[in-house]
């Protein structure tokens, strides 16, 4: 029943690829993805779940990677910002963020995009109000939020075009 905090083996999928890591079971998924898997897209703005910059999807659910111990990510399927673009071809959400000027310093961007992805997967035509609630866990200090909300609504419109739907 007891496991020492020393390194243990964990295995999970990230963006469809399998990762095997040795980590203390209580090291956060955020720290593991960044330091052991080399996936630096997610950011740590607070380490307390308050800023949303570390948001990833675990089995489809949006969660703050800083709050999940890696032990609870074992055998899960994780999606991060690195999984959206197909080579140089941007995901519609990414295209919308570029064209709507929804980035400045970029530190909140990965978390904002993952929150957007989680929203549009469950609600493809959100109202402005629903967008504000879905992104309420993501803090931005640069843009004032309005361009980001525009980008989410634009992404929702674009993603409804047949040729841009991802299977």
């Amino acid at each position: 029943m007891a496991s020492k905090n020393s390194l243990q083996h964990f295995s999970f999928l990230v963006n469809g690829a399998r990762y095997d890591v040795l980590a203390p079971p209580l090291m956060s998924l955020g720290e593991v993805l960044r330091e052991k898997c080399g996936l630096r897209g997610l950011k740590h703005g607070c380490q307390q779940g308050g800023c949303g910059a570390c948001s990833v999807q675990v089995d489809g659910q949006l969660i703050p990677a800083c709050l999940l111990p890696v032990a609870r990510a074992n055998d899960k399927s994780i999606e991060t910002i690195e999984g959206l673009a197909q080579g140089e071809k941007l995901h519609p959400i990414q295209e919308a963020f570029v064209s709507c000027y929804a980035t400045q310093c970029g530190f909140c961007t990965a978390g904002m995009i993952m929150a957007t992805k989680a929203l549009l997967e469950s609600n493809p035509s959100p109202s402005r109000e629903e967008v504000l609630v879905a992104l309420s866990g993501n803090v931005c200090r640069c843009t004032g939020y309005l361009p980001i909300v525009d980008a989410v609504l634009a992404a929702a419109r674009n993603a409804r075009s047949p040729e841009l739907l991802l299977s």
């Binding site: 330091e35 080399g38 996936l39 630096r40 897209g41 997610l42 950011k43 703005g45 607070c46 380490q47 307390q48 308050g50 800023c51 910059a53 991060t80 910002i81 690195e82 959206l84 673009a85 941007l90 959400i93 990414q94 963020f97 570029v98 064209s99 000027y101 980035t103 400045q104 310093c105 970029g106 530190f107 909140c108 961007t109 990965a110 995009i113 803090v139 931005c140 200090r141 640069c142």
Partner: protein, 461 residues
């Protein structure tokens, strides 16, 4: 003069009504995507913390839990027993412990220690640096350091700090920055006493602001790495790369050529990352251990200890005529520098020069004080030294307009400075546009201006 400069349009060919001469201009008026947008949205933008360095140590700072205190002793014995502990750095390890950022442009004295020695003057002041194998080990070890303090009285208000008998924050014996022997920056123009005597009405108000924390999404930090040849590469999110590099060299007593500072994308600065605060100690750690050292602020450190925009206080006394002309303006302003100078002496100078605002007033008197208190040292933020002055001045202008029952726009247009006017700090006005901006703004919000106001121009009174 190089070819590119020759191709730039002379200023007088650019007309204010936006109908710009199109010769050679391809960017103005077009929508251009940000160069970094694609790397941001794909998570590929590189920030200082994105490198992997084998053998990297983590630095956690032991900090003061008092606003003002003597340090009687420090016990590291429990900390040293923490698994993962590597070493501690104290002020004795710092080659040249005292500095001030602006020593590079001749500002004195070097009032701030990298690590406190016999006393602390603000809550959160760095006392000792713990280096350990993981961030958790460093934090646990740091929490086990026992510092014995003798608390002293503290002062948190700028005017209290200048009263006789106030606790003294600095080592010079007084709580203000000395400008060429004077206790404040002074601007004297005309004769305000005569101006007040001739005025129809005197209006006096006090304006206060609080410190503002920048709260960037990315906290302050750096990674210092020994290159193996006596040089160090420092990855940092500072906004002030050369301030940091040059001060680090002076603090460590090494030639600047041994330092390679790599900046780049800052995850939000807003003026809050212009202090020299993490690089010297991290680089010293790399020097002492021959291992890479990372020092990154936690969110709590960023919010509670990192520098803020200074709190400021303004006393503005105006002599005004019934027709709206301001004939005399007297301002006493205080900048709360917190416990150390950093950029505040410069910010206070800017504040003084910014008075009395974009208005031509024949009699102006300004005393601008840079005051030390036991608050967290303050620093720059968006419109350093001037933004809060504008808050005070424009609030005062609205009060005047209300007292005189004059349209607030009329009050400003009457008093706005024109090209060629002499400013209170003895510079001539050039390229003034306040009149035209007000006129354009009024047009955009469909507010009709009286004909005499609509006909005004910055080119003439």
């Amino acid at each position: 003069m190089n070819n590119r400069l020759e191709k730039l349009l002379p200023v007088q060919d650019v007309r204010l009504d936006g109908d710009v001469d199109q010769k050679g201009l391809r960017e103005v008026g077009t929508s251009t995507p940000r160069r970094d947008a694609i790397s941001h949205v794909t998570g590929r933008t590189v920030y200082f913390e994105d490198g992997t360095f084998p053998g990297m140590l983590h630095l956690k700072m032991v900090r003061s839990t008092h606003h003002h205190a003597r340090i009687l002793g420090i016990d590291f014995s429990e900390a040293e027993k923490t698994p993962g502990f590597v070493r501690v750095i104290t002020h004795r390890d710092v080659p040249s412990n005292y500095y001030t950022i602006l020593r590079l442009i001749g500002i004195e004295p070097n009032d701030e220690p990298v690590l406190a020695d016999d006393r602390v003057v603000y809550w959160g002041e760095p006392i000792a640096a713990i280096l350990a194998e993981s961030p958790q080990a460093a934090a646990i070890a740091a929490s086990r350091v026992k510092v014995e303090f003798e608390p002293l009285d503290a002062v948190f208000d700028v005017e209290e700090a200048l009263k006789p008998g106030a606790p003294i924050v600095t080592r010079q014996g007084f709580n203000y920055f000395r400008y060429e022997g004077h206790h404040c920056r002074r601007v004297r123009f005309g004769d305000v006493d005569q101006g007040f005597a001739s005025a129809d009405l005197i209006i006096e108000r006090r304006w206060d602001t609080s410190p503002i924390e920048h709260a960037p999404m990315e906290t302050t930090g750096c990674i210092a790495k020994p290159d193996g040849d006596g040089r160090f590469t420092v990855y940092t999110n500072t906004q002030a790369l050369y301030f940091s590099l040059d001060n680090t060299a002076l603090i460590l007593g090494i030639p600047a050529g041994r330092l390679h500072f790599v900046g780049g994308t800052v995850g939000g600065g807003f003026g809050g990352k212009v202090d020299v605060i993490v690089e010297p100690i991290a680089t010293l750690g790399a020097m002492l251990t021959s291992r890479p050292v990372k020092f990154v602020y936690t969110r709590e450190e960023e919010m509670r200890i990192s520098s803020t925009r200074a709190a400021e206080r303004f006393y503005i006394k105006d002599g005004v005529m019934r027709d709206g002309r301001i004939v005399a303006r007297q301002i006493t302003l205080y900048v709360d520098a917190g416990a150390y100078s950093r950029h505040s002496p410069y910010g206070t100078t800017k504040a003084a020069a910014h008075m009395p605002g974009p208005y031509t007033i024949p009699n102006v008197w300004v005393d601008a004080h840079c005051v030390y208190t036991n608050r967290q040292p303050s620093s720059a933020m968006r419109g350093f030294g001037v933004t809060l002055g504008d808050f005070a001045i424009e609030s005062q202008m609205d009060v005047i307009a209300h007292e005189l029952r004059i349209d607030p726009l009329r009050l400003r247009l009457i008093n706005a400075y024109r090209d060629g006017d002499m400013k209170a700090h003895r510079k001539r006005v050039e390229g003034a546009a306040l009149v035209e901006v007000i006129q354009k703004a009024a047009e955009l919000v469909e507010q009709r201006l009286d004909p005499d106001l609509a006909a005004m121009s910055s080119a003439s009174r």
